[in-house]
Amino acid sequence: MNRILKKLELAPEVKLFEINSPLITRKTLPGQFVVVRICEEGERIPLTIADTKEDTIVLVVQEVGKTTKHMGTLEEGYELSDVIGPLGKPTHIEKLGTVVCVGGGIGIAPIYPITKAMKNIGNKVISIIGARSKDLLIFEEKMKKVSDELYITTDDGSYGRKGFVTDELNGLIDEGRNIDFVMAIGPVVMMYAVAEVTRPHNINTMVSLNPIMVDGTGMCGACRVEVGGKTRFTCVDGPDFDAHQVDFKLLMDRQRIYLKQEEESMRLFKRH
């Protein structure tokens, strides 16, 4: 169990892992995540289940700090100490009409299973995926397969439309396209921007939040966010929340709690 069966580099510092995890595979629904602990001294980090195949779950990991960098060095055959899940509430999948799925950067991986499910249940699915530049764009083929329309943006214009995913979303709204629901996953700033785009149009919008977590089962409160003025625990009440109600500033502040320690950790790791 928990063995890495396959590892692929999707983009610089973005790796895909297929992990043998038969129990979790059977239960996984779109929008859920696992908590991973690599080794005895390791942290517990949450990662979204980007896909499942027979007995394996697919994780797509962006190397941003010590633990994800360490994970990037692991080879096929390595057995992770722990893979726990599936955690969190699944995304609410329903036939709503026209659904726009927005994925930014690494967020394209977690938006994929949701997009697929939204399509399978009979929605018209418009997907917008974006990255900083062409080489960082992942899952393009997979997204194309499960979308009726696929739009691509890059910050530097090296591929697709130059600009942000929100520019594309704005464009669709300006064209007068009828949109019943928007689901957005990506960096917090992106999810915030999407919320601001859809808010004036009253388009129902959900985002999948990524605060710091420890247990992932509702025991510690590390993952608390404020939604509609109320404190919620992301790992059990979410990770999906109404984008128009989320306090994004608080989320960003809380993501920076351990900045100093994370830098120290990275420095030590790089020396090895």
């Binding site: 089962t217 509702g218 025991m219 502040d253």
Partner: protein, 465 residues
């Protein structure tokens, strides 16, 4: 009453100055000589009332007599008939409210140091190396799933494997022991000791599956397809907050998070271990129970210049174990009694920098029998802080109840189980410990486990519900 030394034989401890700089155990335990000396204080009462004070009814005079006679091997064997976790109970039971409270000596003198002797005998056994295992029973062919590896689950597991049932423990975290590993700090209960006790249950024949979240990885109904009975010992793992303004600022923790980072994830050893923790200079802990004491003392050991307990009643009402209150005082924890936080203030980066409090006075007794704290109007004042730990209690984690149709729960989300049998409203499902009672004690959880194990055995044998 024959002549008896009025005071308990003192237990050697690390000096306060030294111990606030490390996470090693504070109390060092009796030597053989000290243990024998203390054991001789016991009067060997004909009607040993002390036993009635112990939720698992240990033969207290029995094991103490064997210590006095230096037959330690037999003493531990006798102990383990009733208690599979003596090294733990000896350290963390609130003895002053249980066995030692009713010890006849306590009427005039200090009671017999029952907890200290219990700890001694368990540690003695560990020092001998091999733990004696009871003879293997013949298998009954029945399968039991225990959910949660805290004291309740471990007791059920220990009892039922001894009776020949096949047993699997499912634990959500990556380590077994429940609060004993993620909550209670190393300096009060070394994790090696918890591991030792867990190993014992494992050696008895229980299978242990960690990182398995019942309700997520599998539901109780799915377990019931594979197992003949299920015991739920999932504890009270949902932290409460006060719901006051600013409570989500950076630097404000639930005690569960603070202690989990430090204990389970070993953040006190960062960066050797990867999990970080905020090492605050001015730590304020809200609450007055064991959890609050543990948090404040952890804060000190993580390098705080000032670590405070903010409690809304007075010293007399502190619910923590007396020994831990005394230890905390010795270590220089500052107590702000009759004080209630009302809001937090932050700097421009979202970090807590001040806590506004209001002074309280004690009014008439409330439902719990303790005098109700009432705010004194206009007494607001501010305390500069950089770390806050909210330790005002926790309630049962809803993960299992919310995914188990037919399982009745009470007002506070606790699972309803019969006190005499541990039976829940769902056939084949038993429960006990904090998940039923709300946050309580290790020994009460074990007591509930013992009761449930007995009726589970009956159910497994007869099939009668």
């Amino acid at each position: 009453m024959p002549k008896v030394r009025p005071k308990k034989t003192p237990i050697p401890k690390q000096s306060p100055k030294k111990r606030v700089k490390n996470f090693n155990e504070v109390a060092l335990g009796y030597s053989e000589k000290q243990a024998v000396k203390e054991a001789k204080r016991c009067l060997q009462c004909k009607k040993p009332v002390c036993i009635s004070g112990c939720p698992v009814e240990i033969d207290i005079p029995g094991f103490i007599k064997l210590i006095a006679e230096k037959d330690f091997k037999e003493a531990i064997r006798l102990m383990k008939e009733k208690n599979v976790l003596p090294a733990i109970c000896g350290r963390v039971c609130p003895q002053e409210d249980q066995c030692e409270k009713v010890c006849v000596l306590a009427e005039k003198f200090e009671p017999v140091g029952i907890g200290r002797l219990e700890r001694f005998i368990a540690d003695w056994e560990a020092e001998q190396g091999e733990m004696a295992l009871p003879p293997k029973p013949s298998l009954t062919g029945k399968k039991v799933a225990v959910v949660g590896s805290g004291p309740a689950g471990l007791t059920v597991a220990g009892d039922l494997v001894k009776l020949g049932h096949s047993l699997t423990i499912f634990e959500a975290l990556h380590k077994t022991g429940g609060v004993l590993v993620y909550g209670i700090p190393e300096f009060r209960l070394p994790k090696a000791i918890v591991q030792r006790e867990v190993d014992y249950v494992h050696k008895l024949g229980a299978e242990i599956v960690t990182s398995f979240v019942v309700g997520k990885t599998k539901t109780v109904d799915e377990l019931l397809k594979e197992y003949d009975a299920v015991f739920l010992g999932t504890g009270a793992g949902l932290p409460w907050f006060m719901q006051i303004p600013g409570e989500n600022y950076n630097g404000i923790y639930s005690a569960n998070e603070y202690l989990t980072r430090s204990n389970l994830m070993k953040a006190y050893l960062f960066p050797k271990y990867d999990t970080p923790i905020v090492r605050g200079k001015r730590v304020a802990v809200i609450g007055g129970g064991n959890v609050a004491m543990d948090s404040a003392r952890t804060g000190l050991r993580l390098g705080a210049e000032k670590s405070m307990i903010i409690y809304r009643r007075s010293r007399k009402e502190l619910p923590a174990r007396i020994e831990e209150i005394e230890n905390a005082e010795e270590e220089g924890i500052v107590f702000e009694f009759l004080t209630l936080p009302v809001r937090y203030y932050t700097d421009d980066k979202g970090w807590v920098k001040e806590m506004e409090c209001i002074r309280m006075k004690l009014g008439k007794p409330d439902a719990s029998g303790r005098r109700r704290p009432l705010p004194i109007k206009g007494s607001n004042f501010k305390i500069p802080v950089d770390t806050v730990v909210v330790a005002i209690g926790q309630s049962p984690n809803p993960l299992v109840p919310s995914t188990t149709p037919g399982l009745e729960t009470g007002k506070h989300g606790n699972i309803i189980a019969d006190e005499q049998t541990g039976k829940t409203s769902k056939k084949g499902v038993f429960a006990g410990g904090d998940i039923v009672t709300g946050a309580a004690t290790v020994i009460l959880a074990m007591g509930a486990g013992r009761i449930a194990a007995k009726s589970m055995d009956e159910y497994l044998n007869t099939g009668e519900w």
